[in-house]
Symmetry: C2
Subunit: 144 residues, 2 copies
Amino acid sequence: MTHRDDSVEIIQQEMTAFARRARATAARMHPELSLVSYTLLAHLDDQRGCRATDLAAHYFLDKSTVSRQIAALEKLGFVERRVDPDDHRVQVLHPTEEGAQVLANVTASRRQAFHERLADWSEEDLDRFASYLARYNAAQERLD
Amino acid sequence: MTHRDDSVEIIQQEMTAFARRARATAARMHPELSLVSYTLLAHLDDQRGCRATDLAAHYFLDKSTVSRQIAALEKLGFVERRVDPDDHRVQVLHPTEEGAQVLANVTASRRQAFHERLADWSEEDLDRFASYLARYNAAQERLD
DNA sequence: GTGAACTAGTTGTATAGTACAACATGGATG
DNA sequence: CATCCATGTTGTACTATACAACTAGTTCAC
């Protein structure tokens, strides 16, 4: 067992532990917007609207899953659909005013929670941790 | 927006992205053992047997959830129960031979996948990434 | 030693998130 | 036009999960 193996083992364990807990933590913090709803809504906000198909591709979700998630967000009044005039199959999705507001609140509170969790980290450590995570995820995306 | 804020933002985004994808990736890689079953079985193996209550506490799961997961693992023949002679309420759970074997296979294949993903990382980067993850999760556990 | 309070685990019920297959409908291309 | 493709919805099924109600065993106070 090399040092390298040890590190990989720890990374594996910690990533797994984190993944297991993330959903439950998110749900406890924000009952009004699940982790999935949150990321979908955030993507809509970020992209200034997009199609259900784009969301499915981006998040590796089935189109039926996205369809139901969007239906739920619409029912909550957080998302609205605008049929594309050039292609009547397509619905371009946008956050509503209220959706954008809720998103902003959840984002702010998530951001604060992360800041608190990372409060005693040096700027250098934060920077490196952020780079490592980005690098790890980018590599994984290419494999997916 | 300070550099510090930027790093926290990236950490948040990347951790969220990772969490969203982890379950599906695990399920695709190992249809025979879900991420949850895997971690429970691994914990049993690691601890050389423990109680359902211990699993629930360790993974922040409801005891009913653990009860059903264990029932499923038992049905698959991967876990056996031994009633504690000193306290007949207690069932000490152990991996069976077959359970240990499947666990070993899945562990090996997960380990290999992680090694591949991290193949082009320097030993120093791996070491630091592992420390950061451990530090992050330890801090979060204290807040949970 | 008996009853109250506690602990371990199971089962009933409900919900979220997910996939896959079948479908409807609109567009593109031979 | 006829066929094929793209977009999205709906039916169905399954997994993971929580909470509440329950059973059964243990401990402790009196």
